[in-house]
């Protein structure tokens, strides 16, 4: 049986919720060891991301990823004003976009203002 990051995330969340407050760090450590024993250590970043996502969703927020073609300065913080306080914002640099910005919500919906998309649409 292959365990997906979603299954791992759900299991560790329930285990942590059931454990006494002082024991929670130990529960998480044991979980990491168990995952490594199963040879799934490479799935840990995805598990953490899944935990983050379920936390944000539980609070009524969304996982928002904003990609820029190059590193920006304080302009990125302006995007926060468009979001709810519960939303989780992640900034990334993606040179493949050529120029512009791409916003992804919950890894399901996308608003693409990048030049790469326009060029593809024009010439493909």
């Amino acid at each position: 049986m292959k365990y997906t990051p979603e299954i791992y995330a759900r299991a560790v969340r329930e285990a942590i919720d059931e454990a006494p407050v002082g024991e929670r760090d130990k529960v998480f450590k044991r979980f990491v060891q168990a995952v490594a024993r199963k040879g799934d250590a490479r799935k840990l970043p995805a598990v953490v991301r899944e935990l983050e996502r379920s936390d944000v969703h539980a609070k009524g927020g969304r996982m928002v990823t904003i990609e820029f073609a190059r590193t920006l300065g304080h302009e990125t913080s302006e995007f926060k004003s468009f979001l709810k306080p519960e939303d989780h914002l992640e900034n990334r640099v993606n040179p493949d976009l050529v120029a512009g910005v791409r916003i992804t919500i919950d890894e399901e919906r996308e608003l693409d203002f990048s030049l790469a998309r326009r060029l593809n649409k024009m010439f493909r």
Binding site: T4, E6, D96, T104, I105, E107, E108, R109, E110, L111, D112, F113, R117, R118, N120, K121, M122, R124
Partner: protein
């Protein structure tokens, strides 16, 4: 030249409109062996066509498994170009193929792309009508019983296992027993038909050299102009081999819906089942018997159920299916053969033993059957071949005694002799299908006992020269009459008797009919 290109580009740029909108997207999280696992796109439909945006191009995939968190998709293009993290978009469409009469004479892949190097099929691909690969079979009320014959040009089949338009007749046998030859002869024979059906040959997992050979034969014999070849060769990914029969069927349905008759040959469904098994196992669907997935029966039944004879209200078109199944060591009780036998309206069973004995087509008359075709059999053949099956069955029972022939009574000896003659008459070389009028004459002559005193090794000469003689001397009175009325009435039968008796006298005297007729003409 440069100026033209620059101007063209300028126009395109000026007319370019792009309004970014919120779009559903997914991400490739795993890929390999022609399969991609995609997260996101939670509203994708089953069998929806997905577009994977790779660094260099767009690759299409088919949503196959809709799971709680992921979509298992079958990649339809260059799988090597896809990387983890590539964006995936839904198209909102199920997989479809462009169809039209422009496909006639062409070799295409299951997505409708040309493989014959003859250039684009449709002038404007965007305007070509498209048919979905998966479509619901015509309903009960849209159908009528099979009532029109589909002549294969093979004496043994047209006489004993007649096929009707709209029927599903399985061709089954071991490797190298002549399964494809029967299918090919059937296509070639349609050249002689007045209401000629459109033929679609679907090659699944076949060698490209074999497909090229078939295309060449069809072209040389003038049959490619009414034939379409859909090819997913052995080097094609399993996904294309899986889609090939549905693509062929969709093309056939287009012609059926336009009131025409179509014939589709699936060569072969064993390899199709293997391709589906490969995809299913890669998608981690639970394996069942012989590791095939649980829905392998449904896969073939829904494909073959699309063969139909539509009633007049629905255009009266038909789609006949000739699926081919390859058995291993003659085992027709294996999983896929039994499935397809139970789905189809009969089977033509070919045997290696008969093939190596020189009985070609290597038809096992006992195990071959056509469940609905007799209703559609041409009256002329029905009349002359009525006793054929019975006489051959009697011969088979007595065949074991052939080696003790000297101890047998005269009646038994006569039956064995007649059986040997009929077996010889039913032998037929490939690529020379006969018109049904020729078949009716030959079978009449054999069953009426005119060949009883002809040495077995001279039967083929007798057959060939008789047909030649009748064509030269009695073409209208015999062939013309049978072709027109589709039956052998008393007057035609009397003329035929007269012609055969005349010919026998010449044949027994050792004259060649060609020299005789030229003497008469001079």
């Amino acid at each position: 030249m440069h100026y033209d290109l620059v101007e063209k580009l300028k126009k395109e740029i000026a007319g370019f409109r792009d309004e970014p909108a919120l779009e559903a997207v997914g991400t490739v999280v795993e890929t390999g062996d022609g399969i991609a696992k995609i997260s996101g796109l939670s509203r994708a439909q089953s069998q929806e066509l997905l577009k994977i945006e790779t660094a260099s191009s767009e690759v299409f995939a088919l949503a196959f498994n809709l799971e709680e968190h992921f979509i298992g998709a079958v990649i339809l293009g260059v799988a090597e170009a896809i990387k983890i993290g590539d964006r995936v978009r839904g198209t909102g469409n199920v997989l479809s193929i462009p169809v039209g009469k422009e496909l006639l004479g062409r070799v295409v892949d299951p997505l409708g792309e040309p493989l014959d190097g003859k250039g684009a099929i449709f002038k404007d691909n965007g305007e070509a009508e498209r048919y979905p690969l998966e479509k619901k079979a015509p309903s009960v009320v849209a159908r009528e019983s099979v009532n029109t014959p589909l002549h294969t040009g093979i004496k043994a089949i047209d006489a004993m296992i007649p096929i009707g338009r709209g029927q599903r007749e399985l061709i089954i046998g071991d490797r190298q027993t002549g399964k494809t030859s029967i299918a090919l002869d059937t296509i070639l024979n349609q050249k002689n038909e007045e209401n000629r059906p459109i033929c679609i040959y679907v090659a699944i997992g076949q060698k490209q050299s074999k497909v090229a050979r078939i295309a060449k034969i069809l072209e040389e014999q003038g049959a490619l102009k009414y034939t379409i070849i859909v090819s997913a060769s052995a080097s094609s990914p399993a996904s294309l081999q899986y889609l090939a029969p549905s693509a062929g069927c969709a093309i056939g349905e287009y012609f059926m819906d336009h009131g025409k008759d179509a014939l589709v040959i699936y060569d072969d469904l064993s390899k199709h089942a293997d391709a589906y098994r490969e995809l299913s196992l890669l998608l981690r669907r639970p394996p069942g018997r012989e590791a095939y997935p649980g829905d392998i029966f449904y896969l073939h039944s829904r494909l073959l159920e699309r063969a139909a004879k539509l009633n007049k209200e629905n255009g009266g078109g038909s789609l006949t299916a000739l699926p081919i199944i390859e058995t291993k060591l003659g085992d027709i009780s294996a999983y896929i053969p039994t499935n397809v036998i139970s789905i189809t309206d009969g089977q033509i069973y070919l045997e290696s033993n008969l093939f190596y004995k020189g009985v070609r087509p290597a038809l096992n008359v006992g195990l071959s059957v056509s469940r609905v075709g007799s209703a559609a059999q041409t009256k002329a053949i029905k009349k002359v071949a009525g006793r054929l099956r019975l006489e051959l069955a009697q011969f088979r029972e007595l065949e074991a005694f052939v080696q003790f022939a000297s101890d047998l009574d005269d009646a038994t000896k006569q039956k064995i002799h007649r059986g040997q003659i009929l077996t010889e008459v039913l032998k037929q070389a490939d690529l020379v299908p006969l018109r049904f009028t020729d078949e009716a004459v030959i079978l009449y002559v054999a069953l009426a006992g005119y060949l009883d005193d002809v040495p077995t090794q001279r039967i083929k000469d007798f057959e060939r020269e008789l047909l030649d003689y009748i064509e030269k001397m009695y073409d209208d009175a015999i062939f013309g009459a049978i072709s027109k009325s589709r039956t052998l009435d008393d007057a035609t039968e009397a003329t035929l008797k007269k012609a055969v008796e005349e010919f026998k006298r010449i044949f027994n005297n050792g004259h060649r009919t060609s020299s005789w007729t030229s003497d008469v003409q001079n």
